[in-house]
Symmetry: D2
């Protein structure tokens, strides 16, 4: 796809995310980098800690899923659906803002693949992941 | 471990989860089956929908992580930490209570492995997953 | 698909595997169960051991991939292609015949998902895995 | 660990691989980069093609496992064991030399994590993967 079409899709997806209930539940911010990578930022919220005092792995998975999906979705005029999500937790995330970034590895006609990472506010690599996203027949 | 020790650990872990901030954020319920499988139930909460109107994949990941971790944790007197989480989304989850169940595959000295599933309230298999959990040197 | 069509596809796939170079390289046997699960058997071959004296994890991955792919492929008149493969190694496999079995979890229009397992000749669960298989536009 | 100790371990691991039956079965070459990444090269061998004429995904999994394991193993005086392996196949690999490279993400006391990639001889990214490797109590 041409750059201007991708930019237009990015704006549509930014607007879409503004309507997402989970955006408000988590208070996530979202933008695209110059290279087209989706970036999600989550200020620390103690409500999403697990019982042992770190941020729950499910929060990291949520951010990785978002980063991968919104990076890949820019390349399609059809909705994509997360098919699988692989998450590795490398370091505990404790009382920190988190930032998740996606990178597109493949934009096939049937499936897209992204890889993703989450860093803490001091730049530590907290988690990596990857996901595949099936291209549905439903037009955006 | 003997059954009564596992039962005692289960009670401690049930009590632990009651103190988890994320329990309240999501309003999850938690119990163990007779076989020792951790089961988490999440009543439908529209706040955790994504922008296209289904329950966010990160919610499923959160439930799968919990189900696997709390199933495996019963076998150890040391804290375990999720090392990786693999999630497959098989069907969209739309406006439904969700129920996640863990099953222990391995309880090694250094690492445990669980497999997990999430079903909808009408019994559809929404998601499967598996996780590995490293056994830390930190006593419970 | 109807049972007789699936049976016909099974026979075609059994014939196809007979032509696979990797079948001969590994000396794998292959059949379908009554339920339609692909089963691959590999007699112990010391040539596929790693340096520390167990069967190489790549051999298990090869068997898991086969079991998942040939289970899912029966449901399509188009070729499918492995998109991802997740493998967990639970026990070392030492000087043993291995048997891998696939089970279909989803046969969607764009993607299939299988879960798989490998057992040793004495019935130990050596490895589990799962895979997704994209449905291509290429007719069989 | 200090650089010279890692260099010594690299040499021991290079020597170890020379004794691996699977090295001969596949005819794989192995070296370390200046940065300590294990690199495995596999000249095209039609015996490892699948029935549809590409190189079998299990071959890619074998190379990814090797690249991840031998990268991580340099950091330990105890044997490590592959615990899980995640493989994504991005492009078909057809009649090409393959080159797999590992990169260490974490060298924890109980577990190491590597990410890996396989490229074709013309530089296409064929496959990515990641693995976790449990640190056993068995001294090297």
């Amino acid at each position: 796809m041409e750059i201007e079409i991708i930019r237009k899709r990015q704006q549509e997806l930014l607007d879409l995310f503004d309507t997402a209930p989970i955006k408000r539940a988590y208070n996530m911010q979202f933008h695209y980098t110059e290279q087209g990578n989706a970036v999600f930022t989550l200020p620390y919220n103690p409500n999403f800690d697990h019982a042992l005092g770190g941020i729950h792995g499910g929060v990291l998975a949520t951010m990785l899923d978002n980063a991968g999906w919104f990076t890949a979705a820019t390349r399609y005029n059809f909705w994509i659906a997360t098919s699988d999500l692989q998450v590795r937790l490398l370091l505990p995330a404790i009382k920190t803002t988190l930032m998740a970034t996606g990178r597109l590895l493949k934009a096939g006609s049937r499936m897209a693949v992204s890889e993703m990472e989450v860093k803490s506010e001091n730049g530590d690599l907290i988690s990596i992941g990857s996901g595949s996203f099936v291209v549905t027949s439903q037009k955006c």
